[in-house]
Every structure is written in C-alpha cells, then in structure tokens.
C-alpha cells in the first residue's frame, strides 16, 4: 500500500513530463486522462486501505522522519484525495470536451497535472516545508492556468491573484522560519511534540499566524478579496477546478495544523466569529452580483465559513461535520462552475441580464443545475443538507447557538441567491444568444459529478462515519505522532 501512496505522486508528475514531451494532442489527452483516472483509482484504494488498517506512512527516500520527509495518508487526507481526484477527472473530461482549452494551449495538460500533483502533495505531506512546496506547485500551476488566453481584463485580474498569492507565500515562509527557530524541526509530528514545550503565548501567536496565512488561500474574512476578482475571469474548467479544490486545500491546511499543532480543548470564539463573518459577507457579496460566475465565486467564500465553523467547535462532531461539508463542497462547487460554464458556452455570457430561458432551450443544463444549486443551499435530500445538519447539531451540542443561527440565516440567503440564477438565467423567454448546444462530453462530465454529489448525499451515513473517525484521529494527536515517529517503511 505504501507503493500506492508513492504512485499518487508519480502518476501526475510523470504525466507532466510526458505531456511536455509528447508532440501530438491526442497523445497528451490520453496520457492526461489515464493519469487522472489512475489517480482517482489509487486515491480510492488508499481511502479504503487507510480506513481499514490505519494511516499509511511513507518515509520518502527511506529516511525516517524527522530527518526525511514523511508522507502521511490518514483518513482525512485520503478522503480529501479521493474527492479531489474525482473532481480533477470530471473537470479534465469537461475541458477536453470543450475542445478549445488544450488546442489553444499546448501545455494545458502538463499544467493541469502539475496542479493535481500539488494538491495531492499538499494532502499527503507530513512536513510543513513540503506543504509550502506543495502550495507553490499548486499555485504556480494556477497562475499559469488563470493567465492562459488572458486579455487585458484577465491580466489585470491575474495580477491581483498572483500578487496576493506570492505575499501569502512569503508570510508562509515567515511562519516556517518562526516555527523552526522555536523548535528546530519542520516535521508535523515532531512539531506537535516540540510546540507543546514552547511558551503558550508564543505558540498561540504562531498558531494564529498560520491560521491567517492559510486563511488567505482559503479565502476567509477579511482575506478573501482576491478571489471574486480573479476566479471568474478564467475559462470555465479552470475556474471550476479552482473553485472546487484550491480554497479547500487552504481549509485542509488550517484544519490539519490547528488540530495537530495548535489544539484547543474548547470552542474558539474568534474562529467562530471569523466563520460567521465569512458566511454572511460572502453571501451578501453574492447577492450584490449580476453575473453567474461572480455570484458563485462569492458563494465559495460564504461556504468556507461553514467549514471554519465546524473546526471552531473543536469537537469530533464539529470537525467531522466540517469534513463532510468540504467533501460535499468540492464536488458541488465544481459542478456549479461547470454548469455556469455550460451556460456561458451556449450563450457567450454569464450575465443574468443577458441570458434567459436556458430551461426551455437546453433543459439538460437546467437538470444539472437544479440538484447542485439545492445542494449548495443545503436543502434535503442533497449532499449539502447532510453537512449542514451535521454542523447544526454539532453547534447546538457545543452550545454555540448564535453561530448556528447565523449559518441558517446565511442558508436562506444562499437559497435566495440560487433562485436569482435560476429565475434569471433558466426561467423566462429564451434569449437569442442561446445558440450552441452543449457538447455531449461536457454534459456527461458535469452529469457524472452531479451523480457523485447525489451519491454523497445518499451515502451520508458511511461518509459521516469515516469523517467522524477522521475527526477522532485529528483530535488525538498522539495517534498521528505514534504512526509517523515510530513506524513507517
């Protein structure tokens, strides 16, 4: 099984090398599609293996942690890997189906697989500095993807994205420097031991620095501004995969470091405050927009608030709920942007004032949109409901009524915003610009992810069980340390 974990990195990176070398588009496509499929299979295999037999540790190069770098595939990582791999594959099929992407940009597949490699490494690494490297891989790939085919407007948007990203990277390095200065290690398991010996005030301060640094990537309040300005400018599949994955990697890093390195034993009021503000400001931002992709971009932010809220309770139930919510969001957010892409692809615009009646002209797009939108709003029986109910119950168990009330209120506003898209773009007399029927491949790719989101909803129980075990692992730092610092191959 350790070999499979190694493969998870070799597959996308090998695909990067191959797609750079292969001269024919059809070969590059094949390699990329095979690689993403293999990543998905390997991720699911790791998930089942890990859930049954406990975390898999790979000491890269054969050197034991903390000298070498450890890859740690525990339940949380494996869950994130699996759902991300599914989203990556779905979006890749969509991108190939849309045809313009990899024709106009010969290196599209290389960069896409680089992004995949960065995401995989971020989930797997048990080393703080390697996490930095993983972020850089992922972000550099995203810089390239977002500037691809960029006109003046996109270049401007990209600058905001790139500059904020690089500033965050600099601050991440400061955090690593501080933590190494205080402890002399960058291995996460080792750090969880040594940080306990550090002065509590300083530890708390460093914890908050990391929270905020990852918070920039995760787009929490008040660090999210870059997101709605930049995401909507990219081509549909790129925005979709950004929306589905990138901010969630930030949330993953927050949850991983806060539970392992800076654990709390009671609900954190400041974190819950940030969560509440993120939800509300995000959803209000969505209401103010008039363009599908921009509306959805603000919803990314709003939904991040729910995940942070789950963390803020610092209970097994809360973190399990957050994990379920992330899993659901990865899929649903990707789908929503793909549907937005389908609308744009058909009409050439995503502005609600300029497109209407998609339901009548291309009902299949509406059929894909509806379950995803209802899921986003947290309505049953869709996947969002499972996560939201779990969060609500966890919140009441922790006695944090206010933030739960805020989250429910934000749900109503989310519903409002979804009906705005539905009523504006899908209902009404079809506009004349609805001319291009969506390609079958694009519909299938989106449909596959919609089906996955339905499955996530229906399989709420097994998912919640795994998430609960994962949350249990996260809150008992001892098991992580024991696995990394003693065993391994």
């Amino acid at each position: 099984m350790t070999a499979v974990v190694g493969l998870l990195l070799v597959i996308p990176l090998g695909a990067v090398a191959l797609t750079l070398l292969l001269p024919k588009l059809v070969w590059r496509r094949s390699v990329s599609l095979i690689a993403s499929t293999a990543t998905l299979i390997a991720s699911v295999a790791v998930l089942f293996g890990v859930d049954g037999d406990g975390p898999i540790i790979v000491n890269v190069g054969g050197w034991e942690a903390p000298l070498g770098i450890a890859l740690v595939a525990d339940r949380f990582a494996a869950l994130m890997l699996s759902v991300s791999a599914a989203a990556l594959l779905g979006v890749l099929i969509f991108a190939v189906g849309q045809r313009d992407n990899d024709r106009a940009f010969p290196s599209f597949h290389a960069v896409y697989q680089t992004l995949a490699a960065g995401v995989v490494l971020a989930f797997l690494t048990g080393d703080l500095f390697t996490l930095f490297v993983a972020f850089e891989i992922m972000l550099t790939a995203s810089y390239v993807l977002i500037t691809h085919r960029a006109g003046p407007e996109q270049i401007r948007a990209t600058m905001t994205y790139v500059v904020v990203g690089l500033v965050a990277s600099g601050l991440f390095l400061v955090g690593i420097g501080l933590i190494y200065a205080a402890t002399g290690t960058v291995n996460l398991a080792d750090l969880s031991v040594r940080l306990a010996e550090v002065d509590p005030a300083l530890r708390t301060a460093i914890g908050w620095l990391f929270f905020m640094v990852f918070g920039i990537k995760a787009a929490i309040f008040p660090l999210f501004f870059w997101l709605p300005d930049s995401y909507p400018t990219a081509v549909a599949p790129v925005t979709a995969i950004f929306a589905g994955l990138l901010t969630k990697v930030g949330v993953y890093a927050i949850i991983r470091t806060q539970t392992l390195l800076f654990p709390a034993d009671k609900p954190s009021t400041p974190i819950l405050l940030i969560a509440g503000l993120t939800m509300v400001i995000g959803v209000l931002g969505a209401i103010a927009q008039g363009d599908i992709k921009r509306i959805l971009s603000f919803h990314i932010i709003s939904q991040i608030g729910y995940m942070i809220m789950g963390l803020g309770f610092f209970t097994v139930a809360g973190i399990a709920a957050a994990i379920v919510f992330i899993v659901h969001q990865v899929v649903v957010k990707t789908v929503m942007f793909l549907v937005g892409g389908l609308v744009e692809n058909s009409s050439g615009t995503g502005r609600l004032k300029e497109v209407a009646g998609v339901l009548h002209k291309f009902p299949v797009i509406a059929v894909l949109f509806l379950p995803a939108a209802l899921s986003l709003a947290g309505l049953p029986p869709f996947s969002g409901f499972v996560g939201k109910l779990a969060l609500v119950q966890a919140g009441f168990e922790s006695g944090r009524w206010l933030v739960v009330a805020v989250s429910l209120f934000a749900s109503v506003l989310t519903l409002f915003s979804m009906t705005k898209i539905w009523s504006g773009a899908f209902w009404g007399t079809p506009t004349d610009n609805l001319v291009r029927a969506p390609a079958a491949t694009m519909v299938m790719a989106t449909g596959g992810l919609v089906a996955l989101s339905l499955v996530i909803g229906l399989a709420g129980q097994p998912l919640l069980e795994i998430a609960t075990r994962a949350a249990g692992d996260l809150l008992s730092q001892e098991s992580y340390r024991a696995a990394v610092l003693v065993s391994g191959s």
Binding site: F129, F132, V133, E136, T140, Y143, V144, T147, A150, G151, P152, E153, I155, R156, A157, T158, M159, T160, V162, V163, L166, V167, S169, G170, L173, V174, I176, G177, L178, Y180, A181, G184, V186, P228, D229, A288, Q289, D291, R294
Partner: protein, 120 residues
Amino acid sequence: MSPVLAITAGALFAAGTYLIMQRLLTRIVIGLGLIGHGANLLLLGSGGPPGAAPFTDQAGQAMSDPLPQALVLTAIVITFGTTAFLMALAYRSHALTLSDAVEDDQEDRRISEANRRSAA
C-alpha cells in the same frame, strides 16, 4: 537569531510591503523580491548561530545547521521561478495595455459606484 539579522529581515519586509501596496507591477515585483529576501534571511537565521559550512569533512568544528540552508535554497529556486513568471506578466501587461499598472476591478467598481450614486 541575532538581533541584527532579525531587524534586517524586518527591514526587508517593511520595504517590500511598502512597495507592493501600489499599482505598478515593476515596483510590485521588486517589493516581492525584497519580501522573498527577508523571508530567506529569517529562515536562515532560524537555524541558530552561524558556524562552519556544513561539510562532512569539517567534523569537530561547530557547524551551521544545514537544514535551514537546504530550505532556503529551495525557497530561492521557487522564488526564481515565480519571478520569471511575474516578469513575463509585466511584459505581457505592457504589451496589451501599454502600462504595467494594476487597475481596479471593473465589476467591483461598478457596484461601488452604483452605491455611491444611490447614496448621493
């Protein structure tokens, strides 16, 4: 970490921060470069007091901590890559708009200004 090193790193951060909070991408690139230098200095200093260069044949002497050096090296390389990309971006921006200034987001401005009008 020696106070001198810490303050130098801080000064580099301050200068870099000042430079990035404006619009011209060339200045921003320089600012980011300074921030990168500051971070690298901090990382290097986190290894403790200076010593001899870390080679195995210098056993016996007090040796600098090699790990932060390796980390800094990786960070320098990564910064090199992103800087190259940023320069291309500035170049591209200039070719498209005859300026490397980062303009405000138009959609955001539209909403802000609609507000201002309705408030007025």
